[in-house]
């Protein structure tokens, strides 16, 4: 059984159909890549999965549970975590504080629960931020802020992570470093869905690819299969290298 199953997902905004009858699944332990041109609906799919938007129709199942209408925080507590496209850390908390928030239990009875400094440092270490725990996000370079977003998601101890444009705004070296960190996460048993524009970085990282165009699934297969798929090449006529 797939860890995450999206069935016939449709999302409309007024007259605009952003996601059109999309279905795909994610197997445990794999890294699934989701690619598509700008505005194809990729982020909207994530927003629907995390219940940031209500779906127009379709179902989303995680570990056998129907999470279509479940609220965001409950979904996170079930083991599904997401790294947003836009970094939005809390600037008045240092890195440690930002991560700590994501370790707090959802309980009115807990005044002092959550991770201690050691555990927070270990989350930070997994993305190489352990030396910057006391700094505030506005003092960090862009790549570090993106890593902080990943550390936050890791702190919720997810089974499945959605990474929305993790490589955005990074140079080649940073991309390589982040890819390595994502690979090591997979070795630890994490399942991931990665959305990005950067084909070269993505194709080497993922096991399978789903291509979305105009909100609908255009193609699905291994990176090699997709690279040779003519429909996909047509859709990317404006020139992304695959």
């Amino acid at each position: 059984m797939s860890l995450l199953e999206v069935e016939n997902l449709t999302k409309k905004f007024g007259g605009l159909t952003a996601v059109d009858n999309l279905s795909f699944g994610v197997e445990e332990g794999e890294i699934l890549g989701v690619i598509g041109p700008n505005g194809a609906g990729k982020s909207t799919v994530f927003n629907c999965v995390m219940s940031r938007y209500d779906v127009t129709s379709g179902t989303i199942t995680f570990n056998g549970d129907d999470i279509t209408d479940t609220s965001t925080h409950k979904i996170v507590n079930k083991g599904l975590s997401r790294v947003s496209q836009e970094s939005d850390p809390i600037d008045i908390f240092p890195v440690a504080g930002n991560i700590r928030l994501f370790t707090l239990p959802n309980s009115l009875l807990s005044l002092y629960g959550g991770a201690d400094m050691e555990e927070i440092a270990s989350y930070a270490a997994r993305v190489d931020l352990q030396d910057k725990l006391e700094e505030t996000p506005d003092e960090l370079p862009h790549a570090d802020v993106r890593r902080l977003e990943i550390a936050k998601a890791l702190a919720t101890e997810p089974e499945l992570m959605l990474l929305d444009e993790p490589f955005a705004g990074m140079n080649q070296q940073e991309i390589r470093k982040l890819s390595e960190q994502i690979e090591s996460l997979r070795e630890e048993g994490m399942t991931m869905i990665v959305v990005d524009h950067n084909m070269s970085g993505l194709m080497q990282l993922v096991d399978r690819v789903v291509v979305i165009h105009n909100g609908a699934k255009l193609a699905e297969g291994t990176p090699d299969e997709i690279a040779e798929n003519e429909d996909v090449q047509d859709a990317y006529l404006s020139g992304e290298e695959i």
Partner: protein, 393 residues
């Protein structure tokens, strides 16, 4: 339209000139004064450092960590408050036209304690979560009116330990009635509902006879006629206990989550925490505090009426006090309440006779603080104190 451009150019030139002047003042006057203070206060910081170390190790987790100077400041303040019944009896002040006079400010000090409770109660919810409530006087007013109605309709000799819990409970119920439906909404719409709530309650108190109409309800003094000294301490102690309790809460996970709700509510959801649950919880805590404050106020007056207790101005005054001291710092709100109230009732009273003018000046001051020192006076002071001397022990 060209006259408009002219107006603009003039205004723009004026405001840039103003900021130039301000910069010069800061450089030539304020900074040197600051350095003098640094020099004078550094030894105090060093002297208190060992004590601060002990404090941080033992109580730091619950109350927050401090530097030597900050600890000295807090201890001095609490000492002043605890001895207020004594030195408050005779304060030397200068009144234009009369020269030096001696004032008994124990009554304003006692009232300031009540308003400090209101300010802190408002702050722990609105200041921290960013969901600004304009209707907090509904909570304290609800408690006060419950006491008044009980005394008038049931028995005028009901003791405090009967009326108080019922009144606080009433405040909590009203708080839940407001919070449960509206905290699901975005900030401004929540604020609008609280604004509507206070207008509604205000109209209701004047429309329904059982609530006494605009004249209000007379009540017997809930605590027996106490002298200034006793009354001050009867109101100071609960206020200090509430201050400590709320500070502890604000330093715990509650404070972290409330602040996160204000800064980035989506992040709270993404962290697996239910923001609505905590928003309502903050309102509940706030309601309890406001209820206690409402009961405290009934203990100090002989009449429960819409103007003193419910009118939206009262809500705004609470907000002004918290703003002056520092939003989202419990002790800052407490300090702000004292500063605001004492300015209003004591200091400005020396120069200005009309209450309305005093309030006008004070509110303008608050607006200036919002523009130029939006963190609040006590927060700024706290940071400044923390910088003198250097490292945290």
């Amino acid at each position: 339209m060209s006259s408009l451009t002219l107006i603009f150019t003039v205004l723009a030139a004026a405001s840039s000139r103003a900021s130039e002047v301000f910069g010069t003042i800061r450089r030539t006057i304020l900074t040197p004064i600051g350095r003098v203070f640094d020099f004078l206060l550094a030894p105090v910081d060093r002297a208190f450092r060992p004590l601060a170390k002990v404090f941080n190790r033992t109580l730091g987790k619950f109350l927050g960590t401090v530097t030597g100077l900050q600890l000295a400041f807090v201890l001095t303040t609490f000492l002043l408050l605890l001895t207020g019944g004594i030195w408050g009896a005779s304060i030397i002040a200068f009144e234009p036209g009369e020269g030096l006079i001696a004032l008994d400010i124990r009554r304003p000090l006692a009232y300031a304690c009540i308003w400090a409770v209101f300010a802190m109660g408002w702050d722990i919810q609105s200041g921290y979560t960013g969901y600004i409530s304009f209707g907090h006087s509904v909570l304290s007013g609800g408690a006060a009116y419950t006491t008044a109605v009980l005394l008038n309709e049931v028995s005028s000799t009901l003791p405090l330990y009967v009326t108080a819990p019922i009144s606080v409970f009433a405040a909590v119920v009203i708080g839940l009635l407001i919070a449960l439906p509206s905290l699901r909404l975005q900030g401004p719409y929540f604020s609008l509902i609280t604004f509507a709530a206070v207008l509604l309650f205000f109209q209701a108190t004047r429309a329904f006879d059982i609530l006494g109409g605009s004249a209000g309800l007379r009540i017997t003094r809930v605590i027996p006629a106490a002298d200034s000294f006793t009354r001050y301490y009867l109101l100071l102690i609960p206020m200090l206990l509430i201050a400590v309790a709320l500070t502890v809460l604000s330093r715990s996970n509650y404070g972290l989550i409330f602040t996160a709700i204000r800064e980035n509510e989506d992040a709270v959801s993404a962290a697996g925490i239910n923001p609505t649950k905590f928003k309502i919880w903050s309102f509940l805590i706030s309601s309890i505090v406001m209820g206690i404050g409402g009961v405290m106020l009934t203990a100090a007056v002989s009449n429960v009426d819409p103007t003193q207790f419910v009118q939206v101005d009262r809500s705004i005054e609470m907000i002004a006090m918290a703003v002056v001291g520092g939003i989202a710092t419990v002790l800052g709100a407490m300090g702000g309440a004292f500063v605001f109230f004492l300015l209003k009732e004591v200091v400005l009273n020396l120069f200005i006779d009309e209450a309305a003018l005093r309030l006008f000046v004070l509110f303008l001051l608050v607006v200036l603080i919002l523009v130029f020192a939006r963190d609040g006076l006590f927060r700024k002071l706290w940071h400044r104190l923390g910088q003198i001397g250097g490292e945290e022990p």
